[in-house]
């Protein structure tokens, strides 16, 4: 008896699990059935990403670097050069400030929080990894809207992440319609920064709703300073005395 070809239906990656869209919808891309996330899925993803910030940011930079380096190895793709930066950021971007007074003063970089990423379409895998790696290296969590036309690279990445030591909820990947998901991501009040695949007046305007940091990422940029786009700088003062 010959086998009947049944198209696999790929799912979302949310909180470390692979659920269907709560809407039950799918669409076709790259000759596969792909889950079509709803706005409710997006809200769930942001909530899960927010919940994961403490654990991920609370890991030592050393540990986070090792986890990410292993992911990069598994992917055999870009990302390793960002993973190596985790425990060097505070030394390159922070330090002591020689204020004119009897105070000890230092600045340290910190993750900005939850970053929304609208992934570039091409090159699908490299583009996505190049945008995600600096976000994660900086200790942020992410909600990714995968490329609508080339979603399989994001699904492949989700499968790698699911078997890695990156805690569930740190990366959440939604497949579906860009026009449906991206505006909602851009205006969401619990998203701290927005990484866009291209300049987009409508999304950038929506981002102003809660003064999001907007990054117009390019898939081919490798500079470690990309990481600083997703960091806050905190300065601490303390008097010096007896």
């Amino acid at each position: 008896m010959s086998r009947v070809p049944v198209k696999k239906t790929y799912k979302l990656y949310l909180g470390g699990a692979f659920p269907r869209s709560e809407s039950g919808r799918t669409y076709e891309a790259e000759e596969h059935n792909i889950a079509q996330a709803s706005r409710k899925d997006l809200r769930d993803a942001v909530r899960v990403a927010r919940g994961a910030t403490g654990k991920w940011a609370g890991m030592t930079a050393y540990n986070r670097g090792q986890v990410l380096y292993r992911v990069a190895e598994m992917m055999e793709a870009r990302g390793a050069e960002f993973a190596e930066w985790t425990d060097k950021l505070a030394q390159v971007l922070g330090g002591a400030n020689p204020v004119a007074g009897p105070y000890f003063n230092f600045t340290m970089p910190e993750p900005t929080g939850v970053v929304g990423i609208v992934a570039p379409g091409e090159p699908a895998l490299l583009g996505l990894v190049s945008r995600l790696a600096p976000v994660l290296a900086g200790g942020n969590t992410a909600v990714v809207v995968a490329s609508e036309t080339h979603p399989r690279a994001a699904i492949e990445l989700a499968e790698v992440l699911a078997t890695s030591d990156v805690p569930g909820g740190v990366v959440n990947i939604l497949t579906g319609r860009r026009d449906e998901l991206a505006p909602h991501l851009a205006s969401h009040l619990d998203v701290d920064a927005l990484d866009l695949d291209r300049g987009d007046a409508e999304l950038e305007r929506a981002a102003a709703e809660n003064v999001k940091r907007v990054v117009l990422g390019r898939g081919d940029v490798q500079s470690p300073y990309e990481i600083s786009s997703f960091l806050e700088l905190k300065t601490v003062w303390h008097p010096m005395g007896q």
């Binding site: 400030n97 004119a100 007046a201 950038e204 102003a208 003064v211 700088l233 300065t235 601490v236 303390h238």
Partner: protein, 495 residues
């Protein structure tokens, strides 16, 4: 060992009613013109419309000031572009540094004149403009002058280059200091600027034009356009401005971010705040009281990083509040030019209305108000130092920025609760922590979502120290090495 004299016995507190003799700083050092134009391309340009700027302490008119139109702003941007291309950006960096050093020196030499004018036009106590605003403004020019020829060392392997023409919009709470924060790093990095001072406090920026002239800065490198929000909007919308830097309210900041959406223009925003000043039960209470007073009554509370929410550990709430109230009775409210004055005039009628509205809301929502007995002048805009106790997280006075001398007191039991309450705000500019326990300071400092954390101190500023907010308090940093970055582009930007 020297004996430290004991605190005076309570009986001496009967010295209430003791009056300080007035010690006004002379206004004679300030020479005001009847009317000012706009400073464009190194010359004064007449504006078609003008308005009167006043002293908020007396409502006395000080001068007529130009209301720059979109056309005026266009002329200023063209002058800045011309100066940028006509040599400023290509000038040897060490030469740029010399101009900035000159400006710093001139500000120091003319410090008293600037301080008197700042207090006259803005209402802030002379001891603050003299001891804080002016020294810090000069220090910013000194600090960034030094970076002008060291950018390659500051940003190794990044080939830093200037951005172009910077449009800068500043607030009325620290008029000259905010001008220094904006202009010094921009010029050090090789940019030219068009700056709009706040509508109510244009005079020190206009006097600064004379410093620019004395320093022989090439025409067009610094342009000053005065006016209200319409002038600011024209600057933001101008297509030939490469970068906008704004300090002001979160509401206007959001409008600017919306306006710039899709244009690719660079933007930094330094916006509002609702800082928590957190006092633990092991803190030295007298020092903490001084820190609380400095945190909220400094500059009439017209400070974006003011410690406007006092979070006090429950076990010490009573003695701390009692000490605080007693300290409030010693604050001297009145003539900004009097050297004894601690709290000056509210900057404008509009700001006074806003403070009154929020204070009324505080009373309506059930918080308990305390104001020390003090005589406020009849003329001008005044508000007594105010403390609200029994404030709930949901009250407007716990959530909204009042930007006035009004403190909201909340209590907590555990460090976790303090943190939860402190971070429960859309803002994230600053925070304060008072405790003798070092590990707790670091634990709190790491978890507070704010750009500046003051531990066992408050409201300290320095040109080497980056300043700026998390969340809706804005993005980008001013001060330090980080303060140069918004004014530079790098090779990895691909340009």
């Amino acid at each position: 060992m020297t004996e430290i004299p004991a605190h005076p016995p309570p009986a001496t507190l009967a010295f209430r009613g003791f009056e300080y003799a007035a010690a006004p700083e002379s206004r004679a050092i300030v020479r005001l013109d009847d009317a000012y134009g706009l400073y464009v391309g190194g010359a004064w340009r007449d504006a078609a419309e003008s308005y009167t700027t006043i002293s908020p302490a007396t409502e006395e008119p000080l001068a007529r000031v130009g209301q720059a139109s979109a056309e005026d702003v266009g002329a200023a941007v063209a002058a800045a572009r011309g100066a940028y291309e006509d040599g400023w950006s290509a000038l040897r960096p060490a030469e740029r540094a010399k101009y900035l050093f000159r400006i710093a020196r001139l500000l120091q030499e003319r410090a008293r004149e600037f301080a008197v004018l700042e207090s006259l036009n803005g209402g802030k106590p002379i001891k603050e403009s003299r001891d804080v605003d002016l020294p810090l403004a000069a220090a910013h020019f000194f600090y960034y002058a030094g970076w002008a020829d060291k950018l390659e060392y500051a940003f190794p392997n990044r080939r830093p280059r200037p951005v172009g023409v910077a449009g800068q919009i500043i607030p009325w709470n620290f008029p000259l200091l905010m001008l220094a924060w904006k202009i010094a790093p921009a010029l050090a990095a090789g940019n030219t600027v068009v700056l709009k001072p706040a509508e109510t406090t244009p005079l020190t920026a206009l006097l600064f034009c004379d410093v620019v002239r004395q320093a022989e800065l090439p025409p067009g490198v610094v342009n000053i356009v005065t006016g209200d929000g319409r002038t600011g909007a024209a600057l933001v919308e101008h297509p030939d401005v490469d970068k906008i830097a704004f300090t002001g309210s979160t509401e206007v900041g959001k409008a600017i971010q919306r306006e710039l959406a899709g244009t690719g223009k660079r933007l930094t925003l330094e916006l509002g705040g609702k800082a928590a000043n957190i006092v633990f039960d092991d803190a030295p209470l007298d020092q903490a009281v001084e820190g609380i007073v400095n945190g909220i009554y400094f500059n009439q509370g017209h400070v974006c990083c003011a410690g406007s929410r006092l979070l006090v550990q429950e076990s010490i709430q009573e003695p701390l509040i009692e000490k605080l109230k007693r300290r409030l009775t010693t604050l001297r409210v009145g003539d900004p030019l009097d050297k004894n004055t601690d709290v000056g005039a509210i900057n404008s009628a509009a700001q006074l209305r806003k403070i009154e509205e929020l204070v009324a809301a505080g009373e309506q929502e059930g918080a308990e108000i305390y104001q020390p007995p003090c005589r406020l002048p009849e003329q001008g805009y005044w508000f007594a130092p105010t403390v609200f106790t029994g404030v709930a997280q949901s009250h407007r006075i716990a959530q909204e920025e009042i930007f006035g001398p009004v403190l909201s007191v909340l209590s907590f039991r555990t460090p976790e609760e303090a943190l939860e309450k402190a971070n429960n705000t859309a803002y994230g500019l600053s925070a304060g922590v008072w405790t003798e326990k070092g590990s707790r300071i670091l634990w709190m400092a790491q978890r507070l979502r704010a750009g500046v954390v003051w531990a066992n101190t408050f409201n300290r500023f320095d040109p080497t120290s980056p300043f700026g907010g998390y969340k809706e308090s804005g993005f980008g940093r001013e001060g330090g090495l980080h303060g140069l970055e918004p004014y530079l582009r790098f090779d990895e930007d691909g340009a």
